[in-house]
Symmetry: C2
Amino acid sequence: MQKVNLMHKFSLFSEHWSPKVVGELNDQYVKLAKVKGEFVWHHHADEDELFLVIKGQLRMLFREPEGGRRQVVMEEGEFLIVPRGIEHKPIADEETHIMLLEPRSTLNTGTKRTRLTIDALEGI
Amino acid sequence: MQKVNLMHKFSLFSEHWSPKVVGELNDQYVKLAKVKGEFVWHHHADEDELFLVIKGQLRMLFREPEGGRRQVVMEEGEFLIVPRGIEHKPIADEETHIMLLEPRSTLNTGTKRTRLTIDALEGI
């Protein structure tokens, strides 16, 4: 049983959109990611996802059920839970550090495979 | 779908050892608590628990399987996962703000009932 220092973990990697596993509980992973630029539109069929901004700013775009789009802008110390089934697209205009919480089964690009899909999750 | 600002949520309550639900995902609750002083020794039979320090310092005491005791001191930006079954006792020498993640089924005092047990969870 060891504590995890978020700043230290973030110092161990630099690539974007490549979440690292830093903890596991109740079949969920705690992951850290550095993000910059636009990710792809995707959704997760059976998994809710939490995004907590540790540093920077994360914009989350959604497709609303009736077809419209909405954006939530998250600053440091703010989190958002994206429920299963909701199409979303994270964007960071500058490099941003986030903590994620989601089931172990979660694929980063949800129900579709793209060049950003990561199959082999890395722990740090 | 609304973002949650941790600082704002912490400004809405002042009592100690009384976690407030601020989010729910995958049958887990995200809770915020202000803590000060010593909590009781307890364990959770089936639930792993994550403690993230948002402000202050949290000391977590454990009873090791072979009977010894150990302490982990967590500062701001550090988290610890206490696996199910492990006897633990959180202590904060000064008021400390923490974020918790644990299954909805989790009782704050684990397998025992004390005057600190909270049955009706409050959302804020």
